[in-house]
């Protein structure tokens, strides 16, 4: 399986490389280093949000509330900044992580302890989080002029031309890789998603793993909320509206199985990069940005159908000649 996955991730990487080459030939500015940096910077939010979503999907769950969480936490940190300007930026990051994580734990507890299906819970909290923005700010906006320089400046810091948002996404990716591959809790996510009954017999607690997954998902969404608001200089009720579906799309393209228990960090990052490349290529190719949605829809369907062929029900190998043929094919 891991071999096949690597194989599939390889294919995805190859497709992205071909796409980049093709687009660069057609529109040379796309192939430049600075544009590449731009793509990575623009896709940074999608990288981390998709990784967090993958962690939830691994447990057979789904978190539809991430974009609403992003908007609400972004708004709350923005308002906090109006009251306490000029604190170090990391305080805002920590605050956003805490608020977002708290919102995620609300999802987690409804799912883990009341056993309400994740899609129902996060559909409800999606509406609640978004609406709460209006309740807390009375329908107004937080604009750049309201933001202190430490608050607004942080996401625009650069290292090697890459923004701090990208570097944070990189850190998230490394942490996710380490967490999912090298820790018991991380492997536990694969276990509860792969076979919940077996996980229970192994002493792995489903409620713990679910709280963990939705907490992480919320925390990453919250942190993205602060970075988003500061970077784009505005917080209002509609920001990142519908973004949850882009995030899920990145996971699906990256080979994360909605059925749980299957997904890799590399695949998910490639899935996000795929969408990022398309989004950035359209203006360069002077194609209307309205194409973005249609293309990502077509790509999701293509990715899904290719995966489905790979996972289709195989006949059992009972006849001796069939077994021999399969053994030979393997060699």
């Amino acid at each position: 399986m891991s071999l096949l996955l690597r194989y599939r991730e390889g294919i995805l990487a190859l497709i992205i490389a071909l796409m980049v080459t093709g687009i660069s030939l057609y529109a040379p500015p796309f192939g430049t280093l600075s544009n590449g940096v731009g793509v990575l910077n623009d896709t940074a939010f999608l990288f981390m949000m998709a990784l967090a979503q993958m962690i939830v999907i691994l447990t057979r769950g789904i978190d539809l509330s991430v974009a609403a969480n992003l908007a609400l936490t972004g708004m709350l940190t923005g308002m906090f900044n109006m009251v306490f300007p000029d604190l170090p930026a990391l305080i805002y990051v920590a605050l956003a992580l805490a608020i977002g994580g708290g919102l995620g734990l609300i999802n987690g507890s409804l799912i883990a302890f009341l056993r309400i299906p994740p899609i129902v819970v996060t559909l409800g909290t999606l509406a609640i989080f978004r609406g709460t923005i209006v309740v807390v700010d009375g329908g107004s906006q937080v604009n750049t002029s309201d933001m202190s320089s430490t608050f607004a400046g942080f996401p625009k810091l650069e290292l090697f031309g890459l923004s701090s948002v990208f570097w944070i996404a990189a850190i998230v990716a490394v942490l996710a890789w380490f967490f999912l591959g090298q820790t018991r809790s991380g492997r536990g996510l694969y276990a509860v998603g792969g076979n919940p009954v077996a996980a229970r017999y192994c002493g792995i607690s489903l409620p713990y793993q679910q709280m963990l997954a939705y907490g992480i998902s919320g925390a990453v969404a919250g942190m993205s909320g602060y970075l988003w608001v500061a970077r784009y200089g505005v917080a209002y009720v509609e920001i990142a509206s519908g973004y949850e579906l882009t995030v899920i799309a990145a996971c699906v393209i990256g080979g994360v199985s909605i059925g749980g228990g299957v997904g890799t960090v590399a695949g998910t990052l490639l899935g996000a990069l795929f969408i990022g490349v398309i989004v950035n290529a359209l203006p360069v190719m002077q194609v209307s940005p309205f194409w973005q949605m249609a293309i990502s829809g077509a790509v999701i369907l293509a990715a899904v159908i290719i995966n489905a062929r790979a996972e289709g029900r195989a006949l059992k190998l009972i006849l001796p000649e069939a077994r021999r043929a399969a053994a030979q094919a393997k060699r």
Partner: protein, 338 residues
């Protein structure tokens, strides 16, 4: 724990035809709870606002939920068989786009309606084809087709709008079908379709088979049920009714923009879940969905009469959804155990 009777197979047990009728069991039925919720909404709103019980106001209120409610009927059947269609709102957009173009081209009401329905049908059939052929969960497929369908609408229209429609078509969405009681066409269609769906689901053999698929798809196939064909039909009907929704919505608002009906899929799913259809499949009634439509529709209407902003109403409806699902679980104390 199972226990096997060790007596001979000839022995007979006395088994009643149906459960003894108990008031508590009746009152704890989900539909009864919804009726109580509906009564509370009506009483509360009547006390709060003198305008609430006005027939014309109520008739206008139905405009805001009838199109969604029609689509909720088929969504209920999809969720009952463990499927979901997230692309319905995008199908509305695509159908509405086609209606808009036909309007610009100067066609009359009938071709417009036929086009809207046909586009919906084709989109729905495409969903069904992908779901049944690929074996991929429909939530994934319809996230994809949602982007595809709405994307096509965006590509075609950009930031433009289509606003040319024949008056007789617009009248369909903007005038009453009957003057007394004042009944908009969309609401009338919803009621008729609700009766059809209820009879189909609860009284016909095909309807019964939907419960079987939802309860256990593998056993359903073993029992001679053509599971994939039924799935394909349900997705196709879902598209068709989304096309109908587009016909009614476009006529009502008289303008087509690519963001038309944005986010409706979530509103519709909320109606279905509040209506007591289990997301895990096999459980649900059309009566429950209809009651949930009224609870949500009248609550929204009442709150807007009180000048509560729409987004705050969404918060309240989100809370209502979660509380209504969580409350029975908490009361029965079913958490923790499994």
């Amino acid at each position: 724990m199972s226990d096997h009777p060790t007596t001979s197979p000839q022995s007979r047990y006395t088994v009643a035809d149906r459960a003894p009728r108990k008031l508590s069991a009746f009152l704890l039925r989900w539909e009864s709870i919804l009726v109580m919720m509906l009564a509370a909404v009506i009483i509360g709103n009547t006390l709060k606002s003198p305008y609430f019980l006005d027939p014309f106001n109520l008739a206008d209120a139905t405009y805001n939920f009838s199109e969604k409610a029609i689509m909720a009927l088929i969504m209920a059947l999809l969720i009952l068989v463990r499927e979901i269609d997230l692309s319905v709102a995008a199908i509305v957009a695509l159908s509405s786009l086609a209606i808009g173009y036909m309007g610009e081209a100067g066609y009359g009401p009938l071709p417009l309606i036929a086009t809207g329905l046909a586009v919906g049908l084709v989109c729905g059939a495409f969903n069904g084809f992908l779901v049944t052929r690929s074996g991929v969960p429909s939530i994934v497929i319809t996230i994809g087709t949602m982007s595809l369908y709405r994307g096509i609408a965006q590509v075609s229209l950009g930031d433009q709008a289509l606003t040319t429609y024949p008056q007789r078509y617009l009248d369909l969405g903007q005038s009453y079908l009957f003057d007394w009681p004042p009944t908009p066409l969309s609401f009338f269609l919803f009621l008729v379709l609700a009766i059809c769906f209820a009879v189909f689901l609860h009284k016909t053999s095909a309807g019964r088979q939907l419960f079987a698929i939802g309860a256990n798809p593998v056993a359903a196939r073993f029992s001679g049920i053509r599971v994939d064909r039924i799935r394909l039909i349900l997705f196709t009907v879902s598209g068709l009714l989304a096309g109908l929704g587009a016909v009614l919505l476009t006529a009502r608002i008289g303008v087509m923009r690519p963001n038309i009906a944005l986010g409706w899929e979530l509103d519709i799913i909320t109606m279905v879940i509040l209506g007591g259809v289990a997301i895990s499949g096999g459980v649900g009634t059309i009566g429950g969905v209809v009651l949930a439509v009224f609870v949500l529709g009248l609550a929204t209407f009442g709150l807007s009469l009180m000048n509560v902003p729409g987004i705050v109403i969404n918060v309240l409806l989100g809370l209502l959804l979660i509380i209504s699902i969580a409350a029975p679980i908490v009361i029965r104390g079913q958490s923790g155990r499994r």
